[in-house]
């Protein structure tokens, strides 16, 4: 790490130097302090308000399936929201991670050299597309398009409860569609990070595998993927973090509803972020505190995911050793 000395050097100019150093150090330290204080203030304020709400909740906050903070007595719980967030994120990850790894492998190993550069650039740019535009595309293009697929799934795979539709023919405004849209959204992010990871695989490993007569796929399987495994995991965590907090895209395609159902093709469910966006307008102070409480749960989940990703990266740095 940084080995520069922390003490102010005594220069020939004496006091003037120390003052400049003190001011600068004070400024930068002050910024760090400001950031710390801001974050602490946010945590304290939100935590306090969430406590105010949850303490007066008449049902169990973590497991109930209704949202009525304005009722007498107030009753709200995040059961449906947690389920919806988890399911849509899991679907997104199941679709996005393999496909992203495939694209990253394509860019680094399979694509013609002249195509790979522009392609990587393009996917970088696509990662910057704002989520409200994904929402527009999802609602106006994807939902009507998925009608056929959902009907097919219900017809052929309806025996699995998951793909059974209570009313075949209802519009595809379900967790399934939200999951697919989220998958399309997080594809560029996971692809970019995976691509960077695959590019850093030491050439010596790949060339060794080639020298032993491996086919291209075997090179990837034995040299690239094991090396990049933790990178792929951390890329997936990044994508997962984005999918968990996604508000607008989910709000456009998901039909709001508080019914809990394992039938993922049925319209109607909610996620944490979408619920906040839908309900903040008509919430009085207490209702807003209830929303803050649900937001804090989302925050905690995102923190866990980010923390896990960081742990994985840190562990990998210890092991990798191959500074190519």
């Amino acid at each position: 790490m940084d080995t520069s000395p922390n003490s102010a050097p005594t220069g020939v100019r004496g006091k003037a130097v120390r003052a400049g150093d003190r001011i600068f150090r004070g400024l930068s330290r002050g910024s760090g302090l400001a950031l710390l204080l801001i974050m602490a203030a946010i945590a304290a304020f939100l935590g306090y308000r969430a406590y105010l709400a949850v303490s007066r909740d008449s049902v169990d906050f973590l497991t109930s399936f209704e949202w009525n903070p304005q009722g007498h007595p107030p009753a709200f719980g995040i059961g449906v929201l947690a389920f919806g967030t988890a399911v849509s994120s899991v679907i997104a990850m199941l679709i996005a991670v393999p496909v992203s790894v495939g694209i990253a492998l394509f860019i680094t190993h399979y694509a013609p050299r002249r195509l790979a550069g522009p392609l990587a650039y393009l996917i970088d740019l696509l990662a910057a597309v704002p989520s409200v535009i994904y929402g527009l595309w999802g609602a106006l293009f994807l939902v009507p398009y998925l009608d056929g697929l959902t009907r097919w799934l219900d017809h052929y795979l309806g025996w699995t409860v998951v793909f059974d539709m209570s009313e075949p023919g209802s519009p595809a405004r379900s967790l399934f569609t939200a999951g697919i849209l989220l998958a399309v959204m997080i594809l560029p992010i996971i692809t970019n990070v995976s691509r960077e990871v695959f590019r850093q695989v030491p050439k010596s490993h790949e060339e060794a595998a080639l020298a032993l007569g491996a086919t291209r796929w075997e090179v990837i399987r034995t040299a690239v993927l094991p090396f990049g495994r933790s990178g792929i995991v951390s890329a997936s965590m990044l994508g997962l973090g984005r999918a968990l907090g996604e508000t607008m895209a989910v709000a456009t395609v998901l039909s709001p509803g508080f019914a809990f159902s394992w039938r993922l093709l049925d319209p109607g469910s909610g996620t944490f972020a979408q619920n906040i966006a839908a309900k903040f307008n008509e919430a009085d102070d207490f209702g807003r505190d209830a929303l803050i409480a649900s937001g804090l749960v989302l925050f905690a989940i995102t923190l866990l995911v980010n923390g896990a990703a960081r742990l994985i990266i840190a562990r990998r740095k210890e092991y990798s050793g191959a500074a190519a």
């Binding site: 023919g169 209802s170 519009p171 405004r173 039909s255 839908a278 008509e282």
Partner: protein, 373 residues
């Protein structure tokens, strides 16, 4: 370290960026009068402007199209006042008004007692009053290919929205529409996901007229299970437009804007009543003022079966303080509400799909608005 030439270049770039940013702030215009695609306003009647400034208001999506027209005419005549109405649903409008964010709220449901007592905090020396400003039929729109005229009555409507009638070719619907070719499709019933005065009016109508088929409590939140939801009148209209077999409820102007078929309601009169502004006016003509003092909340007669009256109606109230309005926006609020209640303002409503207030009630509103303080 930057060499002098690159420093100069960087400075030049920075200056260019700043000056173009400044130029950008000066080159836009609020006036769309010359827009060939739309724009232009038709100011009807004389508008007395009062109070310059910016006014925030929010609430009912049902009256959004009427509000748009009023705001357009008012701002064309009174250039110093800006009115910013956001349609977030009646519940949201009341909340924002109770928080002090907005000058008045638009709501299809009058203030509830607890909302009225909360309003005493935001109206420091008074409380909130409901001023009816626009009425309209709640169109029940459907999307069913091959069926252009549909008749339903209150009990059938109740069962459809309650999930008890699930297919379009149900015998109850067939009985009311003997000549229609009803397919065996599933009915996709849409309701409001947000707190809506339109929902409350529909609930009141079904409770009064469905003869026991609708037993749910009244309120701005949708009380029944099942069905699918969308946010805002525009949201339901959009879903009905896109989904074959869908049925939903929203103010008539949305059905007109999206060219959707509407249901005619069989009230027991000789012919089923279509959802039109005249028929809605006939139904609203029976309304009585139920509020006390300056509060002009109305009690509507949902059971009317007079010929041609369309009973599923709503009236939108503008909710303001009787005393203790914010001084900075009081004059503009009164001037705008005066215009909306005036003959000129009410006359713009019919072509949009809204019903003007009955004369007696309009007169009461015109007398009450100047007394706000």
């Amino acid at each position: 370290m930057l060499q002098p030439s690159t420093r100069l270049r960087t400075l030049a770039l920075g200056a260019l960026a700043v000056s173009s940013a400044l130029a950008l702030t000066a080159c836009g215009s609020d006036s769309n009068a010359g827009d060939p695609a739309g724009g232009g306003s038709q100011s009807t009647g004389k508008i007395t402007c009062g109070g310059k400034g910016k006014l925030l208001a929010s609430g009912s999506t049902a009256q959004k199209n009427a509000m748009d027209a009023w705001v357009k005419n008012y701002q064309a005549a009174c250039k110093g006042t800006q009115i910013n109405y956001k349609d977030i649903g009646s519940g949201g409008g009341i909340q924002e008004w109770l928080q002090g964010t907005t000058a008045f709220a638009g709501s299809d449901s009058a203030l509830k007692p607890e909302e009225r007592s909360r309003s005493k905090k935001v109206c420091k020396s008074g409380q909130g009053v409901d001023l009816p400003m626009v009425g309209g039929p709640i169109a029940v729109s459907y999307h069913l290919s091959g069926v252009e005229h549909l008749v339903l009555d209150a009990p059938t409507l109740a069962k459809v929205f309650d999930g008890k009638i699930t297919k379009w070719n149900d015998p109850a619907i067939k009985k009311l529409n003997p000549k229609a070719k009803l397919p065996a499709k599933t009915i996709q019933a849409f309701h409001r996901s947000d707190e809506s005065g339109t929902t409350e009016n529909l609930g009141k109508y079904l409770s009064a007229a469905a003869g026991g088929a609708w037993k749910h409590p009244q309120g701005k939140s949708w009380p029944a299970k099942g069905g699918q939801s969308a946010s805002g009148s525009a949201g339901i209209a959009q879903q009905v437009k896109q989904t074959d077999g869908a049925i939903g409820y929203f103010e008539l102007s949305y059905a007109k804007a999206n060219s959707l078929d509407t249901v005619a309601i069989d009230t027991g009169a000789k012919k089923p009543a279509q959802a039109t502004t005249q028929n809605a006016s006939r139904a609203i003509a029976d309304a009585e003022v139920a509020g006390a003092g300056k509060d002009l909340a109305l009690k509507l007669n949902y059971k009317t079966n007079s010929p041609g009256a369309y009973p599923l109606v709503l009236v939108t109230y503008e909710i303001a303080c009787d005393k203790g309005n914010k001084p900075s926006t009081l004059k503009a609020t009164k001037s705008f509400l005066n215009y909306a209640a005036s003959k000129g303002g009410q006359s713009t409503l019919a072509e949009l799909g809204y019903a003007p207030l009955p004369d007696g009630i309009a007169a009461k509103v015109r007398k009450t608005v100047p007394t706000l303080s």
